[in-house]
């Protein structure tokens, strides 16, 4: 059975078609969901894509939790459904309190659009369940606010429970503990700043993002 992946489009999202294409390319079936939908239909997984949902008004991701679809996304996540937030999607997941912490402006105050080498830190997540701890992945970043910040207690909890999924080999944005991506305790909710859909074809210079998406759709 083909895994159906719903990609939520908020006003201001801009990576949704890339995600659908990448999901299709690895053997899944991507489809767009509108942020005003109240239900997720019959999708098997949800992706909140990159972009500037609601213009990033107030704070990145802050307005998205008022989109009608977010109640359904929250219930889906609580029932164990795979939910992945990429870049702006990660920011939305923290604002919706589905993941701890917050994303703040890059330390150097520069918008960063460049390749990044990631290290897999936890294999207990929907993106990394077919990888090994220590695997290196080349997946690009594209953000101004990707500097992960959390309290010391929250960081201790992330470390203690193995919730850090990816770290940067060469921290580009000042993120606490080099964090590029984290998960919830069940591993079904993952947020990451790098864009797997932009590393899903040899022509893009890396297929390591496709490995993550294959994990998401459950293909070895």
């Amino acid at each position: 059975m083909t895994t159906r992946v719903g990609v939520v489009v908020f006003p201001g999202s801009n990576c949704e078609h890339d995600v659908v294409e990448a999901v299709d390319a690895v053997g899944g079936s991507g489809e767009l969901l509108w942020h005003k939908d109240k239900s997720l239909g019959d999708v098997d997984a949800v992706v909140l894509p990159g972009g500037f949902a609601h213009g990033d008004y107030l704070r990145t991701g802050a307005m998205a939790r008022f989109s009608p679809i977010m109640d359904a996304v929250t219930r889906f996540a609580q029932d164990g459904g795979p939910v992945v937030g990429i870049c702006n999607g990660f920011q939305i997941l923290t604002e919706a309190q589905l993941l701890p912490g917050a994303l703040y402006k890059n330390q150097g105050l520069k918008f960063l659009c460049q390749p990044a080498v990631l290290r897999v830190e936890s294999t207990d997540s929907v993106l990394t369940r077919r990888m090994k701890v220590g695997d290196e992945l080349n997946v690009p970043i594209n953000h101004f606010e990707g500097n992960y910040v959390c309290s010391e207690e929250a960081l201790a909890a992330l470390r203690e429970n193995d919730l850090i999924v990816f770290t940067y080999q060469d921290n580009p944005n000042g993120a606490t503990a080099d964090i590029a991506g984290i998960r919830n305790e069940n591993g079904n909710v993952v947020g990451l700043m790098p864009h797997p859909e932009r590393a899903a074809h040899p022509l893009l210079g890396s297929t390591d993002g496709a490995l993550m998406l294959r994990g998401l759709i459950g293909i070895d």
């Binding site: 107030l58 704070r59 802050a62 923290t94 604002e95 701890p100 912490g101 917050a102 703040y104 402006k105 890059n106 330390q107 150097g108 105050l109 910040v149 959390c150 309290s151 929250a154 000042g174």
Partner: protein, 86 residues
């Protein structure tokens, strides 16, 4: 009877959170001859009018808005100034 109150909410970064924008501004000021400036912090302010039964109720409402929406307590602090509508 409900009254109206003028509200200013100042949102700033929590102490301990690096403020690269503030630092950049601070470093630029000496170029204009302002050499005695330190501790520059950049934030934002929200101004609005709120209806409430009294000042205490108004403050309570605004604190709740800040906690749940206007600021992110992970990275931000708020300072609320509130008074009768003028």
């Amino acid at each position: 009877m409900s009254k109206e109150f003028d509200v200013i909410v100042e949102v700033s970064l929590r102490e301990g959170i690096a403020d690269p924008e503030g630092l950049t501004i601070e470093r630029a000021l000496p170029a204009l001859g302002f050499n005695g400036v330190s501790d520059v912090r950049v934030g934002k302010s929200l101004r609005f009018v709120v209806e409430a039964s009294d000042e205490r109720d108004a403050r309570h409402q605004v604190e709740s808005m800040c906690e749940r929406f206007l600021a992110n307590p992970v990275i931000e602090d708020v300072d609320i100034t509130l008074g009768p509508l003028t």
